[in-house]
């Protein structure tokens, strides 16, 4: 019972954070709302019995990724955004489309997988189980993903580096 109450409360906080992210006009407030979303998602994982995933969610997303977001906003000293009224087409098609998609997903999940309660530790959540899945059962997809990430990092370094600066440093040395 307590679990259900806490789960619903943090679910509401999560959605409220997501809405606040869109409503706020200042980028730093939006970024901090995203931190709230990440944090409450971590609590949801914790309530589902996946402590390891919850801790990693906080360290990686709420900690590292979002600090970089805030860092960039601070570095660029971005001010408040100007709100436009938005296009009527986006409002007329977007809102019903989103509602239909949400109902469709919920309907598919409920009818296809059914609602049957699981006990707390029924799903793999222990670090050993996750390591077994990542580094043994799904080793190839894992390694392919890491190479993909590596390529993305190298690409961003190439894009960010200015060729003239490299030429200049070559001449000096």
């Amino acid at each position: 019972m307590l679990h259900l109450i806490l789960f619903s409360v943090f679910g509401l906080i999560c959605v409220a954070g997501a809405v606040n992210l869109l409503v706020q006009s200042h980028p730093i407030n939006s970024a901090l709302s995203l931190v709230v979303v990440m944090g409450s998602l971590a609590v949801e994982y914790l309530l589902l019995g996946a402590e390891f995933v919850a801790a990693v969610q906080v360290i990686v997303y709420a900690g590292a990724v979002m600090v970089l977001f805030v860092f960039v906003i601070m570095l660029l000293n971005a001010g408040a955004e100007e709100h436009t009224k938005g296009s009527i087409i986006a409002l007329a098609l977007g809102v019903p489309g989103m509602l239909i998609a949400a109902i469709l997903i919920a309907w598919v999940l409920v009818t296809k997988s059914g609602i049957h309660p699981l006990s707390l530790n029924a799903l793999p959540g222990h670090p050993k189980d996750i390591a077994q899945l990542l580094f043994h059962d799904f080793l190839l997809p894992f390694e392919v993903t890491s190479i993909l990430v590596l390529i993305a990092i190298m690409g961003s370094v190439v894009l960010a580096s200015r060729p003239e600066a490299i030429e200049h440093s070559k001449k000096e040395s």
């Binding site: 730093i28 402590e51 801790a55 990693v56 906080v58 600090v67 970089l68």
Partner: protein, 346 residues
């Protein structure tokens, strides 16, 4: 244990831990002023109480009664929230730190720690990574050039050194096979070759990891030689330039509480936690482990202060190059070698 006993025990433990931690924070400041004073051929605080021992109390009262100035043009919600985030994160992480064995008081048996979670180390790392927001946001919300530069430096530095810090701990995790801080300490019990204790720094040959941890921890807590976020020769006082009275004191408390947490983790992971010789009557045997643990923490804090009294400050590009080009490769090499040794031994 019934629910009522559980709640009573939990409340007592939380209150006691907070009281001890805050007192420890106050007296770490006193220790620092005293030790650095002697290193620079001064006396340090001597006026308030014997050996200046009441100086922390006087400082606390002074902070409470100072004018709490809010400069104009600051972004108020975040300006007020930043020191709260910093101090809350710094004080929370002590909750998973064990300080000794189980004790039995009036028929109730309890571990000497607020809660023993099986991902204890990750909880501390998570809370520390949230603590960065306190520093970063205070720099931004103050609406001052010095604060902003300090906040930017602090967040870049803390993200960079967190990687080396995390990797230096993974070797210990491989050796002990658990995230629970109590489990890690239990794995270090006993001796080898008759007299050398089974601490990870000796038994697992983690001394390289220990020194990586030591240096990364200095950077994480913004201490000399890595105190660039508050370098007073360049940035006045860095991210807390615009803060006064209790809000400034909160940043101050957060810094020293973080130092104590870092010292606790070093003692638990590398130096064998509370293991040490036990002798005497049962009451002494119950107190001795806590005493050994506190001794290690104080020794670690003393090294902190010693380094502060000895080393000059790094330049910012030196700091970044040191972290990324030296500490990180070294931490990865240590991790690979430890993993190989453990795999070959199994």
């Amino acid at each position: 244990m019934s629910l009522t006993t559980f709640i009573i025990v939990a409340v007592i433990k939380v209150a006691l831990t907070l009281f001890i931690l805050l007192t420890a924070v106050a007296y770490t400041v006193w220790l620092e002023r005293k030790v650095v004073g002697r290193m620079q051929n001064r006396w340090g605080p001597t006026r308030v109480g014997p050996f200046g021992l009441l100086q922390p109390a006087a400082d606390g009262v002074k902070f409470l009664f100072k004018e709490d100035l809010t400069p104009p043009y600051v972004y108020k919600p975040l300006y007020i929230a930043a020191p709260i985030i910093a101090v809350v994160c710094a004080l929370t992480s002590i909750a998973v730190v064990p300080v000794g064995n189980w004790v039995t008081v009036a028929g109730v048996s309890t571990p000497l720690q607020i809660t023993d979670v099986n991902i204890g180390l990750l909880v501390i790392l998570g809370i520390t990574s949230i603590g960065v927001y306190g520093v970063a946001l205070s720099g931004w919300a103050s609406n001052s050039k010095y604060s902003l530069l300090g906040g930017l430096r602090a967040s870049a530095q803390m993200i960079s050194y967190e990687i080396a810090l995390g990797l230096s701990l993974v070797g210990v995790l491989i050796l002990s096979g658990t995230f629970s801080l109590r489990g890690i300490v239990d794995a270090q019990a006993g001796h080898f070759w008759g007299f050398i204790p089974n601490w990870n720094i000796f038994r697992g040959c983690q001394f390289v990891a220990f020194f990586i941890y030591l240096m990364a921890a200095y950077a994480e807590t913004n201490r000399i030689p890595f105190d660039l976020p508050e370098a007073e020769t360049e940035l006045v006082a860095g991210y807390h330039t615009e803060y006064s009275a209790m809000k400034f004191a909160m940043f101050f408390m957060a810094e020293y509480a973080n130092m104590i947490t870092v010292a606790c983790i070093a003692s638990l992971l590398f130096l064998g936690g509370w293991h040490g010789p036990l002798f005497g009557p049962p009451i002494l045997q119950a107190i001795l482990p806590v005493l050994w643990f506190v001794l290690r923490v104080v020794a670690f804090l003393f090294v902190y202060i010693w380094v502060r009294g000895t080393l000059p400050r790094f330049r910012y590009d030196q700091l970044m190059a040191f972290g990324w080009k030296f500490l990180l490769p070294l931490a990865i090499a240590n991790l690979v070698i430890t993993a190989l040794v453990v795999a070959l031994r199994a």
